[in-house]
């Protein structure tokens, strides 16, 4: 127990350190960047060292966590001694929340022990819910036939490092919310970021010059731009990026999430626009930033809904004040009292606290449920922006203008992951309706991006669309109740997508072009890159031997498809989701192997490029190997234990979530455990996933590997579809027509008004003022100055006449005094006597 308490204070310390190290690095480089070695070379070491340090700290806390809490999450390993856990929890003064007493239909539950690192007090209004027995353990049996198991309490450390603002109505802290998910994501992010840092040292080496020739940026005179290298600047941004992402992960409340959310945004802006002299890069940066703002607007609405109703942004309980999760999970029906109260404000007398009965009645009327949906949708809006979901996905492909390591970082570990992570983190707040929206958005995105990826020829763009598509998978999984599946895929995807991007970067580095049609046969020139990338392709396609072993993507994609299948069985109306998911898997395999075959297999299409291609330096391909290893085996279970990524994430599963739709009563979010353990669903899903992936692979092999089929022919046969895909479903053009053009039009009108009307007014005013000033000048010169000069002349004259009195003869002065005294006396006496006589 002692250890647990120590961990409760130690883990936040370690992770906080891991979080702040990149900030320190950023500050250092910010202050001393250009002076760090030649061309700022040392900045790379500083940044890399910092992120490595973060990684070490994360791993340390991860190991300690495992040592302390073990891995318990998997449903197949539920043989934990609840008695001892209970005793332990009581000893550590943890208080238990009684879960899901409101819903007898709840098909799963987990009791939660919140362990705050400071001694908690009474938890506000809901004190009567606290300090209860565990009787919830006994009541929550599943009516879906799933064997009830005594899951242990979820271990969460919440706390506040520094209270920014605390009042009765609002609570903003710099706080943390740490569970095993946080720790895992920390490890993932820092590991990938470390690899990317190392890789960048090699990739960005050309920035290490005093004069760098940017061939892609032509000056008006046709020559290439020459500028100073910005090596240190790049690593400075990387550090800040890592800091922001880690802060987002560790954040204990939505406000803090929002802050780091924006920081991530600004970092992506800076990095995408790293080659800011290139018009395309700066435009892409602007686009990314602006599109993200659209999503953030929704997020702010969500935040306002939360604050207005709950008065807190915190996820977990901090200092005895219940956080959002507690409020949501404790409330019967999942609608917190605050939301109910806010929704029923017109039925509440001023200053009167509604009673529990009233609240119950209102809750029966679903008051406040809309607010919950608004909050959920708002938050999700932010995630849509950040994770490039369907309406706002347009920025991500353009973001490929940044240096490739940046793309890797954005696509794998940081920015886009942030959105998915937030959805996962915020899961208990999403009502089934919101989840459905999420699922559909995810599905649309998945399909849309995958189809575009088929037609793309730019190697990075293919990867970018693949990312969008995979993100769609994750969202879909989350939306259909596959919390584990979504986050599982997030982690595995991070690894293999980072790998893929770095590999493509390596290729670009070697070929100095992005266009796949110009490549081919490169596997002989750069074997490390080629085969690591093959690993990445296999992983993302979900390759594996069914039921035996597979690449990491095999497991996560399996889980997703299983969950979608489960969902579509539970809600037959939403079966298309399943078809999209399954079809997406095939397309994924197809475009990935298309990419690989076009790049590495076959004969070189451009001999010039081929001749010049070369394997990347060690500092670049060693990270590739590391990432390849992880991409292969990150999802494997450590033999003999139940330590696996899935189990770890399962441990971080939120306490509870709503399963049944309220407005849409037929909507049912199936229990995720069901999809794992139910042989029917699982087997089906595995086979479907495997089959689709295989078919995709085979198709790609036919088209691009063996060239049995000709892709050109297909293009010519379906020119409209091809154009449709090449033009990215015309979404960008649509936006241009709907938003940009009208904006330009209005701006022109406003500018014209400004020039013609406002400027005219100001000019005429200025003319008036000038005239008045001339007049004033005359007055000043002749009247005022004349008066002053006259005074001065008089004073001067008087002084001149008086100076003769100053003879400098002391005795004369004495005489003056004496005469003056006498004269005064005489005068005074005369006046006095005169006055006397008068009276």
């Amino acid at each position: 127990m002692e250890q647990v308490d120590q961990l409760a204070s130690l883990v936040p310390l370690l992770l906080g350190g891991a979080w702040l190290l990149p900030l320190a690095s950023f500050t250092l480089i910010f202050l001393f960047g250009p002076k760090m070695g030649r061309h700022g070379r040392l900045a790379a070491y500083v940044a890399t060292g910092a992120i490595l340090g973060s990684f070490v700290l994360s791993i340390t806390s991860f190991t300690m966590w495992l040592a302390q809490h073990g891995v318990t999450g998997a449903p197949t390993h539920a043989s934990h001694d609840a008695e001892s856990q209970q005793a332990a929890a009581e000893k550590s003064r943890a208080f238990l929340l009684e879960p899901s007493t409101f819903d007898p239909a709840a098909n799963h539950f987990t009791s939660v022990a919140y362990r705050t690192d400071d001694h908690h007090e009474e938890a506000g209004d809901d004190a009567d819910h606290l300090q209860n027995d565990h009787h919830g353990h006994g009541t929550g049996t599943s009516d879906h036939g799933h064997a009830a198991h005594q899951a242990p309490e979820k271990v969460v450390y919440t706390g506040s490092w520094y209270p920014l603002y605390r009042s009765k109505t609002l609570l903003i802290d710099i706080g943390y919310y740490i569970d095993i998910l946080t720790v895992s994501i920390f490890c993932m992010v820092t590991l990938i970021a470390s690899c990317i840092h190392f890789y960048s040292i090699g990739y960005m080496h050309e920035e290490l010059t005093d004069e760098l020739v940017d061939n892609e940026c032509k000056l008006p005179d046709g020559t290439s731009l020459r500028r100073r290298g910005r090596f240190h600047r790049f690593f400075q941004y990387l550090s800040l990026f890592c800091f922001s992402m880690l802060g987002l992960v560790i954040a204990g409340n939505v406000a803090m999430v929002f802050v780091f959310w924006e920081l991530v945004g600004i970092c992506s802006y800076l990095l995408i626009g790293f080659y800011r002299e290139r018009h395309s890069a700066s435009t892409a940066a602007n686009k990314a930033f602006i599109v993200n703002r659209v999503g953030d607007f929704g997020m702010i609405i969500g935040l306002m809904a939360l604050w207005g109703s709950l008065g807190t942004f915190a996820f977990g309980d901090v200092d005895g004040r219940p956080g959002v999760f507690t409020l949501v999970t404790q409330a019967p029906g999942g609608i917190p009292n605050g939301m109910v109260r806010l929704a029923a404000y017109d039925q509440i007398e001023a200053g009167v606290q509604p009673t529990d009965e009233q609240l119950a009645i209102w809750r029966e009327q679903h008051l406040g449920y809309g607010l919950l949906i608004v909050a959920g949708l708002g938050i999700f809006c932010g995630c849509v922006g950040k994770s490039a979901q369907f309406p706002l996905h347009v920025w991500l492909p353009d973001a490929m203008e940044g240096p490739t390591p940046v793309s890797a970082l954005i696509h794998a570990a940081t920015m886009v992951a942030a959105g998915v992570y937030l959805v996962g983190r915020f899961y208990p707040v999403f009502s089934p309706e919101v989840l459905l929206v999420i699922a559909y958005i995810g599905a649309i995105t998945l399909f849309l991006a995958a189809t575009i990826a088929i037609a793309a020829t730019d190697i990075k763009r293919v990867l970018a669309y693949s990312t969008v598509s995979q993100l769609g998978y994750m969202m879909l999984a989350l939306g259909v109740g596959g919390w584990l599946a979504g986050l599982f895929h997030l982690v595995t995807h991070a690894f293999f997508k980072a790998l893929l991007f770095l590999c493509s970067g390596s290729v670009i580095h070697a070929c100095h072009t992005n266009e796949m049609p110009l490549m081919g046969g490169l596997r002989k020139k750069m074997p490390w890159t080629a085969y690591t990338m093959l690993v990445g392709c296999l992983a993302i396609s979900g390759a594996g031997i069914p039921f035996v072993i597979g690449f990491s993507g095999y497991y996560s994609k399996d889980a997703i498809i299983a969950q979608v299948l489960s969902f579509s069985r539970a809600n037959p109306a939403h079966a298309p989701l399943y078809w999209v998911a399954a079809g997406g898997a095939a397309i994924t395999a197809f475009y990935m192997f298309r990419l690989w075959f076009m790049t590495f297999a076959g004969k070189p299409r451009d001999t010039h490029i081929y001749e010049h291609a070369h394997e990347s330096p060690k500092v670049m391909y060693v990270p590739l190997v590391i990432l390849a290893i992880f991409a292969t085996g990150v999802a494997w279970r450590v033999p003999g234990t139940n330590l696996s990524l899935a189990n770890l994430i399962e441990d971080g599963r939120p306490v509870t979530s709503m399963t049944d739709g309220v407005f849409w009563s037929s909507l049912r979010i199936p229990n995720e455990h069901l999809s794992h353990s139910d042989v029917g669903i699982h087997t089906t899903a595995t086979l479907v996933a495997f089959g689709t992936a295989l078919s995709g692979f085979l198709l790609a092999l036919l088209f691009y590997g063996t060239r049995t089929l000709n892709a050109e022919e297909v293009q010519q046969q379906f020119p409209r579809i091809h154009r449709f895909l090449i033009n990215r479903w015309y979404i960008d053009d649509l936006y241009w027509a709907i938003f940009v053009r009208p904006t330009h039009f209005i701006a022109q009108r406003v500018a014209a008004f400004d020039r013609q009307r406002i400027d005219w007014f100001i000019d005429s005013t200025a003319r008036w003022v000038r005239g008045l000033s001339r007049l004033d000048d005359l007055i000043d010169r002749y009247v005022v100055d004349g008066f002053v000069n006259l005074l001065a002349t008089w004073t001067y004259g008087i002084g001149l006449s008086l100076r003769r009195v100053q003879t400098g003869r002391l005795r004369q002065y004495v005489m003056f005094i004496a005469v003056g005294t006498v004269a005064l006396f005489v005068l005074a006496s005369f006046l006095w006597s005169y006055a006397m006589a008068g009276s």
Binding site: G808, R809, L810, R811, V814, M815, I817, A818
Partner: protein, 114 residues
């Protein structure tokens, strides 16, 4: 009027003070020596002091008359002390003047005349 057989009043003192004062003024007005001027100042101050003492004295005023009382003496004390300070400063100025001009004749000190 026999002065010897008549009590001394304030006026007697005032007369003496007036004489001292006028002597001081005339001294200041006629001496070319800076130190002579200083002595004239001392005389003037003494004449004034005498008046203060006279007005404050209970010996020279009839009983019950309004007098300066102790204030007269206090002011006289201050005058004496300040006169001493003034003498020291004046002497220092004179010495400086002498250092520069090799004389203490105040008629030579007219460099700032108008």
């Amino acid at each position: 009027m026999n002065l010897l057989t008549q009590p001394v009043g304030v006026s007697h003192y005032l007369v003496v003070g007036a004489v001292l004062f006028v002597c001081g003024v005339v001294c200041m007005a006629t001496k070319r020596n800076a130190l002579g001027v200083l002595m004239g100042i001392e005389l003037v101050l003494n004449g004034a002091n005498l008046n203060f003492i006279a007005f404050g004295s209970h010996v020279l005023n009839r009983a019950g008359a309004r007098t300066l009382g102790l204030d007269g003496q206090l002011i006289a004390l201050f005058v004496i002390v300040l006169a001493a300070a003034e003498a020291a400063i004046a002497l220092a100025i004179t010495l400086n003047y002498y250092n520069n001009q090799a004389t203490v004749d105040v008629d030579h000190a007219d460099e700032l005349r108008g």
